[in-house]
């Protein structure tokens, strides 16, 4: 899995505005694999993104719409995007504001296929 996964992660980072992509354990918030630019704190991204998804998972489950698949946090100076790729694993991307969310989503789905 490793080499193909890293190639897939690299493809995500080639989308303009993407500052990094990580494969993260949903329960432990730890980095499994990553391709991030200098200055991106991979451990912080992983821990915080996992915590956010965990909290939202309770809201989606109670609302009766199932588990979160794709998440997009849009902020003033950037965005955080996550995609559930396999049981208890997720891909996380940190991006500049105005990034093409559709394209990132597509590349995350492709990268996710390498994890399965």
């Amino acid at each position: 899995m490793t080499e193909r996964l890293h190639e897939a992660l690299d493809r995500v980072t080639r989308v303009r505005g993407v500052r990094g992509v990580l494969l993260v354990g949903l329960d432990d918030g730890l980095v499994v694999a990553d391709a991030v630019m200098e200055g991106v704190r991979a451990n912080a991204v992983a821990a915080l993104a996992a915590s956010l998804v965990q909290r939202l998972a309770r809201a989606t489950a109670t609302s009766g719409i199932g588990q979160p698949g794709f998440l997009h946090l849009e902020a003033e100076r950037g965005a955080l995007l996550t995609l559930a790729v396999r049981e208890r694993l997720m891909l996380v991307t940190v991006a500049e504001p105005g990034v093409n969310v559709g394209l990132v989503r597509l590349e995350l789905l492709r990268a996710g296929a390498e994890v399965r």
Partner: protein
């Protein structure tokens, strides 16, 4: 600026039949020399009566001079010559908005946007007018004693306003079995909103604007209409995320009006 005006004046003097008067008129308008700008444009219009850009410029100078009725006529002439002239559409939308005619302003701006989807000033104006429209609607509903989200699509099952501590302020949330899940979900969503704030702060992303979650059977859209309230919109998976975003923006405006009225 003075050099520009001198050079543009020289260009026009060199070729009085050219369209150089448009640039000169614009430069004079920007410099606040409105009388001179009007004279230049009126002279130009004598030679180029069928030029919609000239009428648009004339109208903008008239607006700056405070002559709104004459500006409306000038934009009307521009539109008669070029029915999809973006400048004239924006101008007339602005006048309609000033008069409180939100629908006409929206019509004009939407036509302008369809002509030039990349014009950021049209996009911004459209957003501001929609926001104002939603605010006015919310005020009318509030005066009539209606609920925060009365009249909104899905108000009885998928729109919820809560405070930052997770207590429900208004709206309703039901699961697919039609059970009321508002209070329980409000607690979780308030926690998620706090977590989003912390993540955005620690990852140096600044203030967050929206949190969109696509789940297996639906979407959640979370935003902060005011610093101490959280808005949740829930929709079925079939509803496009863009539409959920539009609805969330309108609902956020209604929520702001409601919160303001409670203070």
């Amino acid at each position: 600026m003075a050099d520009d005006i001198r050079s543009l004046t020289a260009n026009l003097a060199h070729d009085p039949d050219s369209l150089a008067f448009l640039q000169l008129g614009e430069a004079l308008r920007s410099a606040g020399r409105l009388d001179a700008a009007v004279r230049v444009v009126q002279t130009g219009l004598e030679r180029h009566r069928g030029n919609a850009d000239a009428h648009d410029l004339h109208a903008r100078i008239l607006v700056d001079a405070g002559n709104i009725a004459a500006a409306a006529d000038a934009w009307g002439r521009a539109l008669a010559l070029a029915p999809r002239h973006v400048g004239a559409l924006k101008g007339l939308a602005f006048l309609a908005f000033q008069e409180g005619d939100i629908d006409t302003a929206l019509d004009r701006l939407e036509t302008a946007l369809s002509e030039d989807p990349s014009d950021p000033s049209v996009v911004q104006a459209l957003q501001a007018v929609r926001e104002e429209g939603a605010r006015l609607e919310a005020e009318i509903r509030l005066r009539a004693g209606a609920d925060i989200f009365a009249g909104f699509e899905g108000a009885d099952h998928g729109l919820l306003l809560l405070n930052e501590r997770g207590l429900v302020l208004g709206g309703a949330l039901r699961d697919p079995a039609d059970d009321d899940v508002a209070e329980e979900v409000a607690g979780y969503v308030a926690g998620a909103a706090r977590e989003a704030t912390r993540a955005a702060r620690l990852l140096e992303l600044g203030d967050w604007r929206s949190l969109v979650v696509e789940a297996a059977d639906g979407h959640l859209h979370v935003s902060l209409p005011t610093p101490d309230t959280v808005l949740l919109v829930k929709r079925e998976r079939a509803v496009p995320p863009g539409r959920v975003g539009l609805l969330a923006r309108r609902a956020a405006t209604a929520a702001r009006v409601w919160v303001e009225a409670q203070r």
